[in-house]
């Protein structure tokens, strides 16, 4: 081998050694950055797990899972409440309809009485005419005429008052009927809405609580997964140390080969033996670097996968546990508020309807008074009829007209009696209706409120627990969010460091190319060079610095053509052997 060629090869080897030195220095810095990122990520992941664990404990401590039963009970009570109100309102509508019919009947009675009052007034006029016609003979009828005048006036006033009240009452009842109809429609809609929202809310709550109940299991699984990923990075980072040592050994070996070739160049004996040793040495280093490259690919991949696994916690359901508890609390608060509002609305409606319906007792009082007056009027009419008949008999044929008037009074008296009877019937019906209204109102005011109040109280206790858990979850949730954001920020850094490592280790390909070139050159200069290997001596020279079984196996593969050892597929780490 010529001195020039030797010089070229040693230069190549020195350059390769220099490249490896650069590689070692640069990767050491990169791995330092990667370890720092890893420790930061692991710290944040641990924080998230600790914060989530605290929320899980709090949720379990507050027995949030029992809240669902409370919500279900409240929903059933609210439905019962509205259902009862609906029935009671329908009852009110019935009574209002009955009152309207009654008022119609009463109007007919008062109309009849008004007609009677008009008839009496007419009789009064006839009596006055007849008194004038009779002259001094009919003086005794002046009293009858006065009585009829006073009486017709009193009856007209009395009847008009009742007509006015009846009409007012009719208007009020119309209003009440309208209000109750609207209320009935509102309650029907409300019942449908409550059923709908309750079903939706319960589904949402159940789904949320199911998610919450799964959180402890999920938490344990996440904790185990993160621990596994962290352990994976811990082992993989050690892979860097192992390959670093192996690269150092290759670098030292290249120096040894270069030195051997430089020494050989000083000899003039052709140096076949030394050239064979250099060739064997290069073959071994090529094998070593190829194996190292595969191992590096394995541990850098493991770092990437495990770091990705740690980062995944920032996107897992676990970080959503805080907002989830808060969401539950909001849904339940809204449900409870809505039911409370409904209860208040029903209370207000109840007061309004009660106020309106109470008017019927005033009417019954008025009708009672009117009935009393009607009875007195009936008696007075009978008396007038009796007196007029006696006076007419006393006068004989002269008082035929008065007899007709007396007959008129008798007819009116009968009619009045009938109307008075009808007034009495109306009064009884009004009193009965008034009693029914009181019962209906009692039902309306108290329907379903007992169960509802009990469920509301239970729900409020549950809600308090959830609120307390939710307040805690919010605080913890903010911290989880901070940790998540920090992790996301770091992920870009981790990616950059991994890329840097990949770029550094790509230099191995260049070194391999150089070494293969030098090896080929030797083969070209010394045909059949491999036949001159002194394997035992070469193994002894190069394996002295080896510290791993893998390096020794690779050396044997290079020298004796044995099978290359499998690159470590997964870094799970080794156990401790106690002596």
């Amino acid at each position: 081998m010529s001195m020039t060629l030797n010089s070229t090869t040693t230069n190549t080897l020195d350059k390769a050694g220099g490249d490896l030195q650069w590689l070692l220095r640069t990767t050491e810095d990169a791995i330092g950055g990667l370890v720092a990122s890893f420790q930061g990520l692991a710290g944040h992941a641990d924080s998230i797990l600790a914060l989530a664990a605290a929320i899980v404990d709090c949720v379990e401590d507050k027995r949030v899972s029992s809240v669902l039963a409370g919500v279900q009970a409240l929903g059933a009570a609210a439905k019962g409440f509205v259902d009862d109100k609906l029935k009671a309102t329908a009852g009110i509508l019935d009574t209002v309809t009955a009152e309207m019919e009654l008022l119609h009947k009463l109007s007919m009675v008062t109309d009849g009485q008004a007609k009677v009052a008009a008839q009496i007034k007419m009789l009064n006029v006839h009596t006055k005419i007849e008194v004038a016609h009779l002259g001094s003979v009919g003086a005794s009828f002046e009293y009858l005429a006065r009585e009829l005048a006073d009486f017709s006036l009193a009856l007209a006033q009395n009847t008009q008052e009742l007509i006015r009240h009846t009409n007012e009452r009719k208007a009020e009842t119309e209003k009440t009927k309208l209000m109750v109809s609207v209320e009935l429609s509102h309650l029907t809609e409300e019942l449908a809405r409550i059923e709908g929202t309750l079903r939706d809310d319960l589904t949402a709550l159940q789904s949320g609580l199911t998610r919450l109940s799964m959180t402890p299991v999920q938490f344990r699984a996440s904790a185990e997964e993160i621990a596994g990923q962290i352990a994976g990075v811990v082992v993989a980072v050690q892979g860097h140390d192992i390959t670093r040592q192996q690269i150092e050994h290759v670098q030292a070996a290249l120096g040894l080969i270069s030195q051997g070739m430089a020494d050989e160049a000083t000899r003039m004996d052709g140096g076949l033996r030394e050239a064979a040793a250099a060739h064997a040495g290069l073959a071994i280093q090529i094998f070593q670097l190829t194996a190292i490259k595969t191992t590096i690919a394995e541990w850098t991949s493991q770092v990437r996968v495990c770091m990705g696994g740690i980062l995944r916690i920032s996107a897992s359901d676990l970080v959503e546990i805080g907002p989830l508890v808060l969401e539950q609390e909001r849904a339940m608060s809204a449900q409870l508020s809505h039911i409370e509002l409904l209860e208040r609305e029903c209370q207000a409606d109840s007061e309004r309807i009660r106020g309106t319906l109470e008017g019927i007792s005033n009417l019954s009082q008025l009708v009672a008074e009117h009935l009393q007056n009607s009875k007195s009027a009936r008696n007075r009419l009978r008396m007038l009829n009796f007196n007029s008949v006696i006076e007419a008999s006393r006068l004989g044929a002269q008082a035929d007209t008065i007899c007709v008037i007396a007959d008129g009074i008798a007819e009116v008296s009968v009619e009045w009696s009938n109307l008075t009877e009808q007034s009495g019937v109306a009064l009884r019906e009004i009193l009965s209706l008034s009693k029914r209204i009181n019962q209906v109102m009692e039902t309306f005011s108290h329907s379903g409120s007992g169960d509802l109040a009990k469920s509301q109280a239970q729900m409020k206790v549950g809600l308090e627990s959830l609120r307390s858990a939710s307040a805690f979850a919010v605080t913890q949730g903010h911290k989880i969010l901070d940790a998540t954001n920090a992790m996301q920020t770091m992920s870009a850094e981790v990616g950059k460091t991994s890329d840097l490592l990949d770029a550094c280790y790509a230099r191995i390909d260049a070194v391999l190319h150089e070494l293969n070139g030098a090896k080929s050159q030797l083969e070209s200069d010394y045909p059949g060079i491999m036949e001159h290997y002194d394997c035992e001596e070469i193994e002894k020279a190069f394996s002295a610095s080896y510290t791993t079984a893998a390096e020794r196996d690779v050396l044997r593969a290079a020298l004796y053509g044995k099978e290359m050892p499998d690159a470590q597929q997964s870094f799970i780490g080794n156990d401790v052997e106690l002596f």
């Binding site: 791995i31 962290i230 811990v234 980072v237 050690q238 140390d241 079984a549 080794n574 052997e577 106690l578």
Partner: protein
Amino acid sequence: MKRILTVDDSTSVRQMVSFTLQKAGYEVTEAVDGKDGLAKIGSGKFDLIITDLNMPNVDGIQLITSARKLPGYSFVPILMLSTESQAEKKDAGRKAGATGWIVKPFNADQLIAVVQKLVK
């Protein structure tokens, strides 16, 4: 809190040992080689030592031999953490006074379990 000394010329390995054991609740001190390790052993009391084998200045075997001679360190557990897996190397470690041997890379869970067993 139990104190552990980790001796290794590789920064990343020291970091990984420290990280693993600190997470498990131990106080960990790092030494960059055997010489630094012996200095730290001399100036403080450790409940367990984890040392590499091949290091500049003072290697792992020398460190164990010297540490065993120090007062209070006769029975302190010392684990060797090395890429070496050869039986003769392990035998040399055992003879020097090592309590156990771990071939790199170590498994974090198993390391913690053994440390817990040795320093309880």
